[in-house]
Point group: D2
Chain length 357, copies 4
Amino acid sequence: MSYNTFGHMFRVTTWGESHGPAIGCVIDGCPPRIALSEADIQPFLDRRRPGQSAFTTQRQEPDQVRILSGVFEGQTTGTPISLVIENTDQRSRDYGDIAQTYRPGHADLVYDLKYGIRDYRGGGRSSARETACRVAAGAVARKVLGEGVSVRGALVQLGPKDIDRTRWDWAEVERNPFFAPDAGVVEEWAAYLAAIRKAGSSIGAVIEVVAEGVPAGLGAPIYGKLDADIAAAFMSINAVKGVEIGDGFASASLTGPENADALFMRDGALEFGSNHAGGVLGGISSGQPVVARFAVKPTSSMLTPVPSITKDGAETQVITKGRHDPCVGIRAVPVGEAMMACVLADHLLRHRAQVGG
Amino acid sequence: MSYNTFGHMFRVTTWGESHGPAIGCVIDGCPPRIALSEADIQPFLDRRRPGQSAFTTQRQEPDQVRILSGVFEGQTTGTPISLVIENTDQRSRDYGDIAQTYRPGHADLVYDLKYGIRDYRGGGRSSARETACRVAAGAVARKVLGEGVSVRGALVQLGPKDIDRTRWDWAEVERNPFFAPDAGVVEEWAAYLAAIRKAGSSIGAVIEVVAEGVPAGLGAPIYGKLDADIAAAFMSINAVKGVEIGDGFASASLTGPENADALFMRDGALEFGSNHAGGVLGGISSGQPVVARFAVKPTSSMLTPVPSITKDGAETQVITKGRHDPCVGIRAVPVGEAMMACVLADHLLRHRAQVGG
Amino acid sequence: MSYNTFGHMFRVTTWGESHGPAIGCVIDGCPPRIALSEADIQPFLDRRRPGQSAFTTQRQEPDQVRILSGVFEGQTTGTPISLVIENTDQRSRDYGDIAQTYRPGHADLVYDLKYGIRDYRGGGRSSARETACRVAAGAVARKVLGEGVSVRGALVQLGPKDIDRTRWDWAEVERNPFFAPDAGVVEEWAAYLAAIRKAGSSIGAVIEVVAEGVPAGLGAPIYGKLDADIAAAFMSINAVKGVEIGDGFASASLTGPENADALFMRDGALEFGSNHAGGVLGGISSGQPVVARFAVKPTSSMLTPVPSITKDGAETQVITKGRHDPCVGIRAVPVGEAMMACVLADHLLRHRAQVGG
Amino acid sequence: MSYNTFGHMFRVTTWGESHGPAIGCVIDGCPPRIALSEADIQPFLDRRRPGQSAFTTQRQEPDQVRILSGVFEGQTTGTPISLVIENTDQRSRDYGDIAQTYRPGHADLVYDLKYGIRDYRGGGRSSARETACRVAAGAVARKVLGEGVSVRGALVQLGPKDIDRTRWDWAEVERNPFFAPDAGVVEEWAAYLAAIRKAGSSIGAVIEVVAEGVPAGLGAPIYGKLDADIAAAFMSINAVKGVEIGDGFASASLTGPENADALFMRDGALEFGSNHAGGVLGGISSGQPVVARFAVKPTSSMLTPVPSITKDGAETQVITKGRHDPCVGIRAVPVGEAMMACVLADHLLRHRAQVGG
């Protein structure tokens, strides 16, 4: 990962600002002769798209993706795939406040400290709008992985509220506006988040992403470990502050015997007794489901005032008006899936390079 | 990070197996005219070195580092710095068991699944012995960062046992065998870990690394974020299962107002009211201390038997004899510091490339 | 250089096919606060643009560049710069022949051998149209280098016909359709090339690129040598078969004393007695003008029939109708300049990373 | 290629100075389960080794290579292969002259200009001694390529003296001290080079490297073209000033019909009528032999005095005493072969990543 590109053999470069004419990405290294059209990508963008429930920003973006290169007669050609999404709802307004005042917790301040300049309109490059490009790339990565690999995400914690894992139902994820896998929490979460929004506040969340069907052997020790790349990929998503694989931080409290994933033979094939490891051993996939989570902080774009300073160094109070998600973690679910898919596709190709097959 | 190299402008490539003739690393991109000798590196290796307390493996390795290139008359020359550490205590013994049987939780199995071959002696490439090279590279990175930047780590959780943060004392870290910053836990931890060891078990831990004096502006959005690189660097350490920045997973439970780091002016300079962000905003350092943590699982090398299989697919029970750390998290403290130092040095150079200064 | 990206700190990724909707590039790592607009780029594209003389293809492409990101209020922001050029003159026609038959010397055959698929329309990805993106990137690179560095190219050989170097005049380069620096050859070259075209043939050329004002110290031994990167950059241009620095192949015939560039002091400053080395010593710029050349083969797109085969393995004869340059080397002049500018800008940033300002 | 590493999937990092304790390299990404021992590498080092004829430097270095990692029980394991060669003949002497005075044409000056420091002993990092590591890596690359691919080099021009290509005999290359493929030139070259040496002078050369058995499809457009990588690899060799593929610079003087490599079918298989392209079309191997050449300048280490300056800016005259090759191009033959082998191995793995086996 470097600047605006990630991946080694399946490489994704994204570009664009929230309120520029468009955003987009270039995917390089995609294998040839994979069936691909906009229709393969659009559903994933639609899933991430804002304005679909009361719990996400009301900005209306159709997020229509166009393929500008790399596909010929419905198939990838092995050349770079350029995807573009126009920005259509750059609401014209006065950016005077945001231009002159730093929002605590935002990247505003550090972009100025680093570059001495920033495109302040809608957060510019640091806007979560950039994640649409990740989702588009993730859709292509899924095609590379093939139908045998599934990558699914869910919201497993909204603020302090957990799901009940015994009720986990992947089908439920698509039925509620939280991507929650537990139907039992939906009503409570809706009330809770409505109150957060009404209070002009915001709240964090935890997302879990599970990849099933991942072949054993993906991952490149020592510094290209599969879980290290997943960690970086997740941590690069806006507002993410923590990442874990398998039992993650909970494993710190476990003893060796509690944490051990025993090995058995079942009908001539390897079988694991448990999956504390989250499908990754020594940085390499074991054939078990790859399970990873990431924590999203509450957005600092909120109506609650916070002490801040202006560009000129005067103290002030900041509230962020506009159309913001009270829990940015919700829309991070498809983004997390996409990053997982991209990392896996990249490692599939990297593994093939060194070991073949 | 790719295979056995990490970093972009300050690049570290490590090599070597636990029971081969030597391990080592090549550091490329180090700025010229930095005073450097073995004496700058050795103290950090000594800190990580096994056999120094009852709570780490009794393997005796002097871990004497030699500089083979890149330094002339006591100064770096800008050419690659080759560091080598001989393996001296490769205890000769029968590796029959370990060669034929997979240790649950170890990389044994997946190396075979990936490569179809593995150097089983002492864990081969996947041995924590590799981390000595990271520590050596970290010592060089500290020289690049200069005296204005300090990078310090501490064990903040041993198994289920936390420290009391109100008693945090960096000086204490060097006084106890746990790198614990809280003198109040040492006695209890000693008894607890002795019991774990006696039971032939093992336990996990959480390490916190704090970098102070880091200039604002380090980090390269979007896919070279400082925290994304820290996450990957920590996750690449053996047995690490989780990484967090600032409040990390706890921030998922916070509201926006609780999580906000207010901005003030003090004597004409920017001042933050708190550091929930852990010194990183939008992937870029803010000038506050960079605070990150990682969770280490309990080692699966233990005397407690676990169901496993042989290379030939027969079921068996495995216990791992030998000289193992009951808590590998302890010796991960200097390793975590080293990784943080390397990431910061790399970003210092990357920042200078794009923005100057 | 990897797939469709080149450069390390000033990174250029290009995408697009000759007859797709558009071509473009993403420039990543550009320093912030550089004044930049389409007007800085367009003149270089206009110079490369086809259809401007009788000696280049009559395809009419306005090659209007649009900046889609990375520039705010007239200045670069440090975020990726996305440039797009629409394809407007994809003449609709029957591609039946070209789709089924391999043109000897073209990339048609090997794209099929490698990928099992190719976009045959107008050469697809392998079309020289891609070089428009290089020229656009080169214009940005020039801004990074600043006004103190000039990068200029000229055609020094057209087929077997050399220029007279004693008449070298940079101003002349802009006055004739060959980018020839010697007014004395223009008439003869015009007649010669008209005859080549009339015969349905084509011819090769040699281009020289000179960069003046390059600071000493750029270049990264051993595998990031300035001249190695120039060689790769030139060799990546369509139809290039040879690259040389300074005296190049002629230096093989020289003795040491003939080839030596003596060093003197003039008014307290270093001065060289000659520049056989072409401004690069040991892979590092010396402060002298960087002088490099590349050889372009005759295009195989010509009306002269050549034995070939069809996709189905039948023997046939191929002639390439359409709008082709009789000497593709002419329009390679601005492309060569652009590649030199990009390599220098990249090394300027890389040098700054390691050694500072 | 970046700093001291080259290759993407078959990555080689070299380190070490001419008069340090050792030189070496780390090869990362090598496929597993390839039979490898020192005996596979040593013969290639012996071929490059100095002191073997009157026409190369009399420095005596046994150049014994040791494998320190990455090989287990005679097979590669997929982990990094560390190779080390000790420096044994660092003749102790007074380096006063060379430390204070710049040798025109050497890298001395620019290392000081770039880094402000240099290891002047024997040329330090810029010494051709570094090429021993390339040769060692090349031996491993050959194993990756397998027995079906041969990579052979020859000296085709010594100063102004060409070989007669009609007498080309690969077997002859191993029989004379010039690696000349034409027995008819050996006597004349011997007399010529003896005279050059006696005069305290030096001379350039041209080396041709031919790879046969290269599968079609290797090479990654647009910026990872096979010939672009070969060009960079050759240009990175000490003293190289020019590189060409196939007909190279001669193709600039050819017409399209003269340069065309016609395609035919012979017994159901593709056959080319000629190989002007040198086995590479559009940056991708065609299945024909890959043919490339590079020009080596005369070494500036010679007894003939040249005007120069001291580190302190005083004018002086320099002659380089010591044990130098009168034609460094001779020993560049095995180095060129090694670079070709490494580039091909890298592209073999890269191709496999994207397109499969």
